[in-house]
């Protein structure tokens, strides 16, 4: 039998770090990818919040003398055909992406939670009706529904958020409904009933908090996909209108003309989208590992 180094095995299992800072550093090592994701997310959020400080130029300011400048010390990511600083636009674009991502996810999740909770808790015809509605919303791919909705509502930030949020409802509602149904059968909910607690209070106090973990996992996963959807909509010319520096729009149309002559116009916004989404996905993955015990390895 090979000798076993108990100490290193235990360290790998995290035994030496049960709380505090050591626990945190252990978790960071254990979920290295998730930590990387978190760092990326924090960076993007920081970028969005302090965009005015980080950006070195006005993202909308046109400069005919600095058109299509290649990346340099003055313009880290070059300039676009208007002479606008790409770095500044990407930094400000983080605001748009995060506004849409967080806004749509929050809106979609909130509505989804309401629909799912009501549907799962009330059952009967309300449930039937809500289920049909989620069926209907789910029968169209996210992008298709979002496309038709932005076309109907017109391109603007709030409208894009709404258009992306609505298709998110059914997924959230399904998860919450299934959870609610399962929770309803659990003894602690029955115990609450047996002490004569009102249904609404049970739903809010006992059911809702216990759906939070799957909700958070789902919302993080959706955050990435909303950012991607916004980028796709903008790419198709239906998202956030100019002059707001949406990453998807930066990639579409005008930038596409410079695919070869000014590749930085194609590369940096694409990298920004991918990295932001990658970050949320990494983080969401780790979060799911931690919060969803079924996935625990």
């Amino acid at each position: 039998m090979t000798t076993i180094n108990f100490d290193s095995e235990l360290r790998r299992a995290g035994a030496h770090s049960t709380r505090g800072w050591r626990r945190l550093t252990f978790l960071a090592q254990r979920y290295l990818l998730g930590t990387v994701g978190l760092v990326i997310m924090v960076l993007f959020v920081w970028m969005a919040i302090s965009a005015d400080l980080i950006a070195r130029y006005d993202p909308l300011s046109v400069d005919s003398a600095q058109r299509l400048a290649a990346p340099s010390a003055a313009h880290w990511m070059g300039t676009d055909s208007f002479g606008r600083d790409v770095w500044s636009r990407i930094v400000h674009g983080a605001r748009i992406s995060l506004a849409v991502g967080i806004g749509a996810t929050a809106l979609g999740s909130t509505l989804g939670v309401i629909v799912g909770l009501v549907s799962g808790y009330l059952s009967g015809w309300v449930d039937l009706l809500f289920q049909r509605i989620t069926d209907i919303l789910q029968a169209l791919p996210l992008l298709v529904l979002a496309l038709v909705m932005t076309a109907a509502l017109g391109p603007s930030l709030p409208n894009v958020i709404i258009a992306i949020a609505i298709p998110l409802i059914p997924t959230v509602a399904r998860v919450i409904r299934a959870n609610t149904l399962a929770l309803r059968e659990l003894p602690f909910v029955e115990a609450a009933k047996s002490i004569g607690m009102s249904e609404t209070r049970i739903a809010l106090r006992h059911v809702l908090p216990n759906t939070l973990a799957p909700l958070i996992v789902l919302a993080t996963a959706q955050l990435g996909s909303t950012i991607l959807t916004e980028a796709s909509l903008s790419f198709l010319g239906l998202g956030i209108p100019e002059p707001y520096p949406s990453w998807g729009r930066m990639l579409s149309e005008s930038a596409a003309e410079y695919v070869r002559t000014a590749p930085w116009l194609v590369i940096f916004p694409g990298v920004a989208i991918s990295l932001a989404v990658f970050g949320t996905n990494l983080f969401g993955d780790a979060l799911r590992d931690i919060l969803d015990p079924r996935q625990r390895g």
Binding site: L60, S61, V62, S64, R67, L68, S81, F82, G83, G154, P155, G237, P241, E242, P243, E253, S254, A256, E257, Y258, V259, R260, T261, A262
Partner: protein, 531 residues
């Protein structure tokens, strides 16, 4: 101008004139592969107002007369007979008579007669039973009282007053003769013409195919077996296709300056030209409500414009600055440079101009601490949006904080018609480089395309005066005066006149890109491929 203008050169024109580049014996055959920038709404040239329709469908038709396809600058001197063998003005300049070619057959085999001519123009004037769904150039025939026929091979236009420019309008690519026996609806989907190529199919968003008309009345033409347009809306994809040899030619007058560079680096042998397209980019100012009802603010706006910067950013310098009429050398009617620079805002010293503009703004009650907030409305298309972005940046210097209001195509004209805008960024295309067309369309009181509702009775009189003027030199003077006045009134400040590139592979011969119109040069009957 001569009172009677006659030209009988039918036989001569059967031999097409080539420029030097395409000299040599034309080779027969081959399919010309061109990409198309978008999917045109229909195949009916009369119902469209974009060269997206003209380019693929002009080869299907013939006009009564046409601008010479190999002389780049369209003018009355370059008008050639086509379905008409000759034309003549009456002595009072109020009747224009065409003698028609005999033996011409429509693609479906029916003979072409004067009835077709009458049908076409009656429909354009809105006089016939059958109606176009839309008739954008109805106003071209405002001065025509009637079209009459005399036998099968003579047709005349009766005018209310002399209008020498009419013949230019008839020579535009926009003015093909339609068959009387085919309904407008069919013309939108399966056009029948007399032209060098027959329509084969039009798959929306996919392709348009034309094939050689073996019975074309010009013997020996066309050289090509057919033309195939592949619809590729994404410009960079399209260009990649061209440089990789999938296409013989780009969509004419559609290659932007940056893409042109790419073509040059990727396909150095390709032949590329950059020419004005006679489309002006201008600002429509809502002068019927505050703040731009104030002439001072309008003037300040005009003074704040740095036209060179626009041209530099959007065209790397390759665009023209001028008034309403297309600037020289492409344009025929532009005012001289000194005269242009005397107009406020056109002067070379931008800083001085802006200083003056700021003074005007301060006079109107604005300043660094009390900035004016407005919206710049424009369509959700890059050629509209991009200059609007620059405009917004430029007027920041005169205390105006503008926000871009991007309007969906479907809502743009209704919105403009409602006067639901403050500043708008607009493009105005001119099919024919002629003052009649631009003045009446865009500046006359009551014209549908006069979005700003600019109405000045004095200028209106000058419009009529120049229109009836048969002496070209005198007419030019009048036109300059009108143009300057229009700019000074800030009726619709012109920012620049765009230029666009066109490229084709070196083996493609017989292409001439017009320099003062992008609607007229696509008959392609004598284009051939040297391979």
């Amino acid at each position: 101008m001569r009172s009677v203008h006659a030209l009988a050169a039918a036989a001569l024109l059967l031999l097409p004139a080539y420029d030097l580049a395409s000299a040599g014996e034309p080779k027969q055959g081959g399919i010309l592969r061109v990409y198309h920038r978008d999917s045109p709404g229909s195949a009916s040239i009369h119902e469209g107002a974009t060269y997206s329709i003209n380019i693929p469908f002009m080869p299907v038709f013939n006009n009564l007369v046409i601008f010479d396809q190999h002389i780049a600058q369209n003018s009355q001197d370059t008008i050639r007979p086509e379905l008409a063998e000759s034309w003549a003005w009456s002595s009072d300049n109020k009747k224009l008579t065409f003698k028609l070619r005999q033996g011409v057959k429509w693609h479906d085999g029916k003979p072409f007669t004067s009835a077709d001519v009458k049908c076409t123009f009656d429909m354009l004037m809105g006089k016939s039973q059958q109606k176009f769904r839309q008739n954008p150039r109805k106003s071209w025939y405002d001065q025509v009282s009637d079209v009459t026929v005399n036998g099968d091979y003579e047709a005349s236009f009766e005018l209310k007053r002399p209008q020498p420019a009419l013949i230019s309008l008839l020579a535009s690519g926009y003015t093909p003769v339609y068959p009387c026996h085919v309904s407008p609806a069919e013309m939108r989907t399966k056009p029948i013409g007399t032209g060098p190529f027959k329509f084969v199919e039009f798959k929306a968003n996919e392709s348009i195919k034309l094939t050689k008309n073996p019975d074309y009345f010009k013997k020996g033409l066309p050289h090509l077996d057919g033309i195939e347009f592949t619809i590729i809306p994404n410009r960079s994809t399209a260009i990649l296709g061209f440089v990789s040899g999938k296409f013989d030619m780009t969509f004419p007058t559609e290659v932007s300056i940056p893409l042109l560079k790419e073509v040059k680096s990727q396909a150095p042998n390709a032949v590329c030209v950059v020419e004005p397209i006679n489309v002006s980019t201008n600002i429509i100012v809502n002068s019927s409500s505050p703040p731009f009802d104030n002439i001072d603010i309008r003037r300040a706006l005009a003074l704040a414009l740095d036209r060179k910067a626009f041209v530099q950013i959007l065209f790397e310098g390759q665009a023209d600055i001028g008034g309403t009429m297309l600037p020289a050398p492409g344009g025929l009617w532009a005012m001289p440079k000194e005269m242009l620079e005397s107009i406020p805002g056109y002067g070379p010293d931008i800083n001085a101009n802006r200083e003056e503009a700021r003074k005007l703004m301060q006079k109107a009650g604005y300043g660094p601490d009390k900035r004016l907030a407005v919206k710049v409305s424009t369509r959700n298309i890059p050629v509209y949006r991009d200059p609007a972005v620059i405009l917004i940046d430029q007027i920041k210097s005169i205390y105006i904080d503008a926000e871009l209001d991007v309007v969906d195509t479907a809502q743009w004209f209704p919105k403009v018609a409602r006067k639901d805008y403050t500043l708008g960024l607009n493009l105005t295309g001119n099919a024919v480089d002629d003052p009649d067309q631009s003045f009446y369309e865009n500046y006359s009181c009551g014209s549908e395309r006069n979005y700003t509702n600019y109405c000045n009775k004095e200028i209106e009189k000058l419009f009529d005066q120049q229109s009836a003027e048969t002496d070209v030199a005198k007419r030019k003077k009048l036109v300059w005066e009108i143009d300057k006045k229009l700019q000074e009134d800030v009726a619709r400040p012109i920012i620049f006149h765009a230029r666009q590139g066109s490229c084709w592979q070196p083996y493609v011969k017989g292409i001439t890109i017009m320099v003062n119109s992008s609607y007229n040069g696509y008959r392609y009957e004598d284009v051939w491929m040297d391979k």
